[in-house]
């Protein structure tokens, strides 16, 4: 049983146009624009405070839940207009998965972490649920490690394992778009490498937008890059393009400064 | 779908919870209304003559007794609480501070009727030796002060804990004494929180019934002396509710309404002040 809506195309493109996010009077990001090609991984880089996370959160409308937050501009996933009042947030968030900086498994067992969201979204049969649990855990390489303790608390796993569990939980929902908010920054180098390798395998099957402040990581796995910067107290997009265009051929002074000297 | 149901139900509960206060105010006003229309303000507020059987409903002496006993208790326990709180925070060794905090927490949990009992057993005979008959205003003030003290200390302690350590560092750098550093560095910062916390205690003392009922003597007279028995508004209600009827009963409700309004105003002002900080 699949949860995805078969009528909508998989691996849609992400279009962002003139996006501004305000928290009260404070501007987080101003008139950002970027496009993520279908099935590609775009890295969103830049110093802290330039609104990368706000941009990400406005794509799955988590900004709706922040009091006083205003979003202006146009975000489209495939043909779906994200901030259209007609668009339902639950449908949106089923298509768009998010991985957070801090691993956040539920205080439930490992298997229940994956079963609970699936059940909430309509998958009832025990057999289907167990199949999906095994499938998702295999995708992230956790199956062999935890197969004999599926009922152990998820919080007893290591940080890297927890993040992989969150990844499994997200993938089990069969999203089309993945939003990754610095998924490795809270992890040790070995766990980071494991997650990075996993993310690399996801390219092609999903359209991925990943926030990272690790330029080397972006260089390793991204197909395209968007550079953000802070301008007059507000975040903005400085340059966006393919990996070569940004890291090798860019002539924009901010990009050059940032990439060469890791300024900021 | 279920979200909507749960939201509705819990929202209903929230409305109920918020409505309780309004219900109480409405009900007290309704029950006191006949008294308000039939007894002029000049009588119930200003007359000290209380004789329900004779048609005299002067609450003044009881209002004065309530205010004076509470004020007296506050005068003792307020400054004492602040100084003790400051001392605990600045001068007490760690083990003592923790032990005292626990003690104060426990004291705050002792029911007022037990304080009243202790007052009857210990304090009244003690006061009796210097001021017969012992159950007098002074006793009530002392018992109330003991009841307010732990919370005054805890309020001070909490307010001082909010102040970042850096403030104290500057005092240390200036080689100020402990009291000096409290007075010039900590007090100005903590003053608002401490004062509002202590005013809260005044409201609590005003509303206290059982302890004063048991030790204040309960004679209706103008509270002109510490060594005279007095009756507070709260004690009056407790004593006369059992047999009052008609206008008498309605005036008792009126006195309850007065209490309610006074305390509500006080708390509202404090909350307003806290919200503006």
């Amino acid at each position: 049983m699949t949860l995805a809506d078969a009528s909508l195309p998989r691996q849609p493109a992400i279009h962002i146009d003139e996006l501004s996010v305000f928290y009260g009077d404070q501007c987080a990001i101003n008139r950002a624009a970027l496009k993520v090609e279908p099935g590609q991984l775009m890295a969103l880089v830049g110093p802290s405070g330039c609104g990368k996370s706000s941009l990400l959160h406005s794509i799955n409308r988590l900004t709706d839940t922040v009091p006083g937050c205003r979003v202006q501009g146009d975000i489209r996933i495939g043909s779906l207009a994200v901030h259209d009042p007609e668009t339902r947030t639950d449908t949106l968030r089923r298509r768009v998965g998010m991985l957070f900086q801090q691993p956040n498994p539920f205080p439930l067992s490992i298997a229940e972490n994956i079963r609970f969201p699936l059940r909430e979204h309509g998958m009832r049969r025990r057999r289907d649920l167990d199949e999906r649990v095994e499938e998702s855990l295999r995708w992230v390489g956790l199956w062999e490690e935890v197969r004999d303790r599926l009922n152990a608390p998820a919080l007893s796993l290591s940080g890297g394992q927890q993040q992989r569990l969150c990844l499994a939980r997200m993938l089990a929902m069969e999203p089309d778009v993945l939003l990754l908010d610095e998924p490795c920054s809270a992890l040790d180098p070995i766990a980071t490498e494991t997650i990075e390798d996993l993310i690399r395998t996801l390219k092609g099957r999903y359209t991925i937008l990943m926030v990272t402040h690790n330029l080397a990581q972006a260089r390793r796995i991204a197909d395209s890059v968007t550079v953000c910067w802070v301008d007059e107290g507000c975040g903005c997009v400085v340059e966006t393009g393919s990996r070569e265009a940004i890291f090798v051929n860019s002539s924009h002074p901010v990009t050059r400064a940032y990439c060469d000297g890791q300024a900021g | 779908m279920t979200d909507r149901v749960v939201r509705l139900l819990s929202g209903l509960m929230a409305i109920c919870a918020a409505a309780v206060l309004l219900l109480i105010m409405a009900e007290m006003a309704r029950a006191a209304w006949p008294a308000l229309t039939r007894v002029p303000v000049s009588e119930w507020l200003l007359s000290a003559h209380w004789s329900p059987s004779g048609g005299d409903f002067g609450l003044a002496s009881m209002l004065a007794a309530s205010l004076l006993t509470s004020a007296g208790a506050l005068l003792i326990a307020g400054p004492a609480g602040v100084v003790l709180g400051a001392w605990m925070h600045l001068a007490a060794p760690g083990w003592l501070r923790g032990g005292l905090r626990t003690l104060q927490g426990l004291m705050a949990g002792i029911p007022s009727v037990v304080y009243g009992l202790w007052g009857l057993i210990t304090l009244v005979p003690l006061v009796n030796t210097v001021a017969p008959p012992g159950a007098v205003m002074l006793t009530a003030i002392l018992v109330l002060a003991l009841m307010i003290l732990p919370l005054s200390v805890l309020v001070t302690d909490a307010a001082l804990s909010q102040i970042p350590d850096q403030a104290l560092q500057s005092a240390r750098a200036l080689a100020l004494s402990r009291w000096g550093s409290f007075r010039s560095v900590l007090w100005p910062r903590a003053r608002a929180a401490i004062v509002s916390g202590i005013v809260l205690q005044f409201g609590r003392a005003l509303g206290e019934t059982m302890a004063v009922l048991m030790v204040a003597g309960n004679v209706i007279r103008w509270p002109d002396s510490l060594t005279a028995p007095v009756r507070t508004i709260t004690a009056n209600i407790a004593l006369e509710m059992g047999y009052a009827s008609g206008l008498h009963l309605e005036v008792l409700y009126l006195s309850g309404l007065l209490l309610l309004v006074a305390v509500a105003l006080m708390m509202g002002l404090i909350q307003r002040g806290a919200g503006n900080l």
Partner: protein
């Protein structure tokens, strides 16, 4: 802080500590002296005789228990529901949140005798419950409501915000999250809230004087009048000559019960902490 001479302050502090500890010490000693001889198993199991000068407090324990039960049965659903609404559906700064908070804050300052008057007027008279455990329990429920809401809110707020983030990103319903994640996580804190309210309710007297009444007999139903332990202490001390000894014994019993609930609170808080830490927080 070393090296600062402050003898007056130090002396003042020590004096004040004594000022606080001495009365408490004498209180305990006097109560023990008067009451301990009478505190035995028969005190707990017998009925009062001779207006309470002799015998025990068995029916009063039952009455007190029933009053607490009625109180919690009314206050917990309303209090928990209110707390859930405040924490899940209202944002902290919103007008509704502030008004509800203000109403509850003021309610927490209302004198207990006023609750007694209110309870008498509304429950005993208007709703026709008369002097009964029901009236007393409901009036008491109004009293402990602010405390319940505030501590329940704290318990709910203490649930890790990251769970809620995950739940939102996965498009899970609030109800689903509440049932499976939020309430189970907050359960120990919520239990502590109930225990705290129970400790408060145990000591209340003025509110019960004209709602639950004075009857010392073993109650048959919640519609019967029943005397609570706190009311018994007052009656014996103030209205019954020679009742001070039994009053002290009852006071010791009441203090022990309150202490038990406080200790239960500390214990459950400790368990909660350990559980949270073992799970990696």
């Amino acid at each position: 802080m070393r090296g600062m001479r402050d003898p007056i302050f130090m002396a003042a502090g020590i004096c004040l500590v004594l000022l606080m500890v001495l009365p408490l010490g004498t209180m305990l000693l006097d109560l023990l002296q008067l009451g301990l001889p009478h505190l035995g198993l028969d005190f707990l199991l017998e009925a009062p005789r001779d207006a309470g000068r002799a015998g025990g407090v068995a029916p009063l324990l039952v009455s007190t228990g029933w009053i607490l039960l009625v109180c919690m049965a009314a206050a917990v659903p309303v209090g928990l529901g209110c707390a859930v609404f405040l924490s899940e559906w209202l944002s902290p700064g919103s007008a509704a949140s502030r008004w509800i908070g203000l109403s509850l804050d003021i309610l927490s300052g209302v004198p207990s005798i006023v609750f007694g008057l209110f309870g008498y007027q509304v429950f005993a008279i208007t709703l026709g419950m008369g002097f009964s455990i029901l009236s007393g329990g409901l009036a008491l429920a109004c009293m402990v409501l602010p405390l319940l809401v505030r501590t329940s809110q704290q318990a709910l707020a203490a649930v890790d915000v990251r769970y809620r983030d995950a739940g939102r990103a996965l498009a899970l319903t609030k109800t689903g999250m509440l049932g499976r994640v939020v309430l189970p996580s907050a359960a120990p804190g919520l239990a502590a809230a109930v225990v705290l309210a129970t400790g408060r309710a145990l000591g209340e007297t003025a509110v019960l004087l004209f709602t639950a009444g004075y009857v010392m007999r073993m109650p048959d139903a919640v519609t019967d009048s029943g005397r609570a332990l706190s009311v018994h202490i007052y009656d014996l001390a103030a209205n019954v000559t020679g009742g001070l000894e039994r009053a002290s014994a009852t006071a010791l019993l009441l203090l022990a019960l309150i202490l038990l609930t406080t200790l239960g609170l500390h214990y459950s808080a400790r368990v909660w902490q350990k559980r949270m830490l073992a799970l990696g927080g």
